[in-house]
């Protein structure tokens, strides 16, 4: 017997004991739609300790008219500053008083999501508050309130963009990747002038257009009873007018004729490379395959890019690759931070060499490794009610959800090596790209600015 002594420390914070049953992955998913069009998704987890509520509005910066870039994000901030029955500051105060955590909101190109994690006993409070935000969120909007939200957003922009080395690169990259008429041409953070330009009338118009129940999905995950959740959601959201969203205009294909190299100078200590392609939208053929391609390139030190760039002769000090799946067009991006004493062109050549690996054989072991990266990541995300809720809110974009969720295990398992190679050939190999080469230059702003750009004919 190896053990010399053993003792148990029993904690009696509750009389309940951990279940000895073997863990199951699949979580039941209950989906329904209210008469006003609101989608409700409930994922109960009896073993959980809390419940998360997410309200996802199917709108983001893609719906901002010209000159109002940043409006969707500004609206998100306004929506924390009180509603008809919730005085300014009370939204967060009531939730925190009740023991809520993870209280926040996010805005991306396609969606705006508000969320909080609460003790299961206080689920009703969270739903009451979110329904007030949805139905009565403009009641307290006036110029001083908008000015407060604007100040928050401008501060956030300075933190995330202006004061960050190469902070402008994502905006420069998207402006090159998508034509000016495309909704993804600009980022949700907006520009200082457009944020200042937005009026209370614009905020009201945006909310009236996109914040109705018919354009929203409520996801509740965690230690909850689906029937009780449905009754609460019917009570608090059921009487809100549907406020159906408008039909979005048809979008022409954003064909790019040439690849482009943009040189960005910044007051920074290091050089960076951002290499990006426009790729299939979320859920379209090629989307998941490119997830796996990213996993083959970068995976905790074992990926092809990592081995090529981070191992001796160490061309870079950091590298990442990701397929960012979006509603209209996705973006596959490789990002590398060039090592001291190495040139951008050396590092770029290293990236190209790593990508050429897709021309050769991809072993079963390697594809299995990439699959595991995603399958495990999804599984680990399911452990928290917020993680599970986020995943389901994201998947709800594809249409009705299946009756159970298992981390999309089967989906990743079904992707073949040939499909990954084919997706890489079609969407990365044969398609135009945008390369942003960020280089240190004195006299430039820290966030960087375009020094030059050059088209590379196909």
């Amino acid at each position: 017997m190896i053990l010399r002594r053993a003792w148990l420390l029993a904690l009696t914070l509750s009389l309940a004991a951990a279940s000895p049953a073997r863990a199951e992955v699949a979580r039941p998913v209950h989906e329904t739609r209210l008469a006003n069009g609101l989608r409700l998704v409930v994922a109960p987890d009896p073993a959980g300790t809390d419940a998360s509520v997410l309200v996802r509005y199917d709108t983001g910066s893609r719906d901002e008219p010209g000159g109002l870039e940043g409006l969707a994000h500004l609206v998100e901030h306004v929506m924390f500053l009180g509603s008809s029955h919730v005085e300014p500051g009370a939204f967060a105060r009531l939730l925190e008083q009740a023991g809520a955590t993870n209280l926040n909101g996010t805005t991306d190109m396609d969606s705006t999501t508000y969320f909080e994690t609460v003790p299961p006993e206080r689920l009703e409070l969270a739903l009451w508050l979110e329904s007030d935000r949805m139905g009565y969120g403009l009641a307290r909007l006036d110029d001083p309130t908008l000015a407060r939200a604007r100040a928050e957003v401008q501060n956030e922009r300075r933190d995330r963009v202006v004061d960050r080395a190469f902070g402008e690169v994502p905006a420069i990259l998207h402006a090159q990747l998508f034509p000016a008429w495309h909704p993804y041409h600009h980022l949700p953070i907006g520009r200082p002038a457009s944020i200042e330009h937005a009026s209370t009338a614009d905020v009201r118009a945006f909310v009236r257009t996109w914040y109705g129940p018919a354009n929203a999905t409520v996801v509740v995950a965690g230690k909850v009873d689906p029937a009780a959740v449905k009754a609460l959601v019917e009570r608090y959201f059921g009487s809100l007018p549907a406020n159906a969203p408008p039909v979005r205009p048809a979008m022409p294909a954003a064909e790019t004729a040439s690849s482009v190299t943009v040189r960005v100078g910044a007051n920074a200590l290091r050089s960076e490379i951002h290499l990006a392609w426009a790729t299939p939208r979320f859920g379209a053929p090629g989307d998941v395959e490119l997830d796996l391609a990213a996993g083959l390139l970068v995976d905790r030190g074992a990926g092809w890019l990592e081995r090529r760039l981070l191992a001796e002769p160490r061309l870079c000090v950091a590298v990442s690759a990701a397929q960012s799946s979006r509603a209209l067009v996705s973006v596959f991006e490789i990002h590398a931070v060039v090592a001291e004493g190495r040139s951008v062109s050396e590092a770029f050549a290293g990236i190209v060499a790593a990508l050429k690996r897709f021309d050769g054989e991809v072993s079963d072991d390697e594809i299995e490794r990439a699959r595991r990266l995603f399958q495990r990541g999804k599984l680990f995300g399911m452990e928290s009610s917020l993680g599970l809720g986020r995943e389901l809110a994201g998947l709800s974009r594809l249409g009705p959800l299946p009756a159970s969720y298992d981390g999309r295990h089967g989906l990743y398992a079904s992707i073949t090596t040939g499909a990954v190679r084919s997706a890489v050939h079609t969407w990365l190999g044969a398609a135009p790209w945008v390369a942003v080469l960020g280089v240190p230059e004195r006299g430039r702003p820290a966030a960087g600015e375009v020094a030059s750009s050059q088209e590379v004919p196909r």
């Binding site: 190896i2 904690l11 914070l13 809390d50 008083q97 000016a180 008429w181 495309h182 257009t209």
Partner: protein
């Protein structure tokens, strides 16, 4: 402003504007006209019950000890087939006296280097094969190597962590690679405003030669760090009697015992274990520091003070005190962020440490509003010290701390991280397990006393990273003239 237009017209106008050279995105028109209002209903008038709910999280901690002294802690969680595994060493840089750069290079090797059995690439591939992250942190009070795996991979995970922790490859080439990459990353990282702020807070509170301060790495010294230095440091830190294997998740005691015995049972102590010396007394530095950073539009600033030790009797009261100033709905955050429009990032917290903890109230402030915001923070602290904390602020702070604990222990990795932190600080598992009770037992009077004891006027240090022209207005804070240089540039340890 785009008035209501039919989608087809909007598309046509957008395409037309493209041709004309004035390009607008193709989007649906916004509704500027009113829409049907939501009806008033009686239940809207009064919010549902918002009273606090104490966390009730069932935990069963099982601890065993191997013959070589290594402890094994298991918390069973069978909700999902996930296991968080970590090896925690309750010794850190404050225990060894080793120079900071030697310590950091060892961390780099543990994170990205190889082992006696495998090259760095082979080790990475082994972790990746499990779909497992591989994390390492070497702190003032402890070291951990950690991963999260599927339940079926417990044995392999313990094996990989054991190999990483007990047999890092400390040969010449690995050391040279780690040394070079660390120096480069450190040089780049040290230029960030957040990094400048944090190291100056540490130096101001503890003194630049204190283990919780810092010593600026000197390139010539770093270049002289040899494999033998790293081996000696590794032997000091990684001793089975100083280590604990923490497993949280879908594992049985039998499986954990078997994996621990197989991979760590044969770990022989290389040398006597290292007695934990008391953490030396701090030698506080200047009370007002301005580190000039040209061209930045935000001012990074912190008001900081030393708190009790991580195992101190009044730590719980100080945690509540720190939370009074931070959190989403704190009064101070509302004043600085919402009412004054001075910040986006703003918060307060307590960094627990074995010697003395660090309490900070900090933010990235709009340069034009930075000094008034600092005045607001100092006034809020003075109010807590002289009048105590308000009942509503106290209740909110206590509730949010307990809620945060509930959220963190809701995942295997979050719970394993908290257990590991407690072990590194020298806290008992009993103390860890009774955290909610200790927070619940704190009274408003306890918090008021903690404010008097730890947030006295002379105990506060203000560090500002921003434009040099803030100097004159900073003098108005009543803390004297600011020291105007990076304390990191002070003479380093010999």
């Amino acid at each position: 402003m785009t008035a209501g237009r039919p989608p087809a017209l909007a598309l046509a106008l957008a395409l037309l504007s493209t041709i004309a050279g004035c390009v607008s995105p193709i989007v649906a028109p916004l509704r500027y006209e009113p829409v049907a209002p939501a009806p008033e209903e009686p239940f809207r008038a009064v919010p549902p019950d918002a009273s606090p709910v104490p966390p009730r999280v069932p935990l069963l901690l099982r601890m065993t000890t191997l013959p070589n002294g290594l402890r094994v802690v298991l918390v069973e969680r069978h909700g999902l087939p996930i296991i968080s595994v970590r090896i925690v060493v309750a010794r850190g840089s404050a225990d060894t006296g080793a120079p900071g750069d030697t310590y950091a290079i060892l961390e780099r090797i543990l994170q990205g280097g190889g082992t006696a059995q495998r090259s760095a690439a082979e080790l990475s591939a082994a972790y990746a094969h499990l779909g497992a992250p591989h994390r390492v942190a070497c702190g003032y009070d402890g070291v951990f190597v950690a991963t999260v795996v599927g339940a079926e991979d417990l044995d392999q995970a313990v094996g990989l962590l054991a190999e990483t922790a007990t047999g890092p490859r400390l040969a010449g080439r690995d050391v040279a690679d780690a040394r070079r990459s660390w120096l480069h990353d450190f040089t780049v990282g040290a230029n960030g405003a957040g990094s400048i702020l944090s190291r100056n807070v540490d130096a101001a509170l503890h003194g630049s030669l204190h283990p919780y301060g810092f010593a600026r790495p000197q390139a010539p010294h770093t270049e002289r760090v040899q494999p033998g230095d790293l081996a000696a440091l590794h032997a000091q830190l990684f001793h089975p009697a100083q280590a604990t294997l923490v497993v949280v998740g879908d594992a049985t005691p039998a499986a954990v015992d078997a994996a621990a015995a197989r991979w760590l049972g044969g770990w022989a102590p290389p040398s006597p274990s290292l007695e934990r010396p008391p953490v030396p007394a701090s030698i506080p530095g200047p009370r007002l520091v301005l580190v000039e950073r040209r061209g930045s539009s935000q001012v990074h600033a912190a008001v900081a003070a030393r708190g009790p030790a991580a195992t101190g009797d009044d730590l719980a009261a100080v945690e509540v005190l720190a939370r009074v100033f931070g959190g989403f709905s704190s009064r101070l955050r509302g004043e600085v962020r919402v009412e004054s429009g001075a910040a986006y990032s703003f918060g307060a917290g307590l960094q627990r440490q074995r010697g003395s903890s660090t309490l900070t109230v900090s933010g990235a402030l709009d340069a034009g509003k930075a000094v008034p915001a600092l005045r607001t923070i100092l006034d809020a602290i003075a109010e807590a010290r002289t009048r105590g904390v308000r009942e509503a602020d106290f209740e909110r702070a206590r509730t949010t701390l307990l809620a945060e604990w509930r959220t963190r222990v809701s995942t295997s990795d979050g719970l394993a991280s908290l257990v590991g932190e407690a072990i590194a600080h020298g806290a008992s598992l009993e103390a860890f397990a009774t955290y909610p009770d200790r927070i619940q037992a704190v009274t408003r009077e306890d918090v008021g006393r903690a404010a008097q004891r730890y947030l006295g006027e002379e105990a506060l240090h203000v560090v500002v990273v921003g434009p040099g022209d803030l100097r004159r207005s900073l003098e108005g804070l009543g803390l004297g003239a600011p020291v105007r240089h990076d304390l990191w540039a002070a003479p380093a340890r010999p």
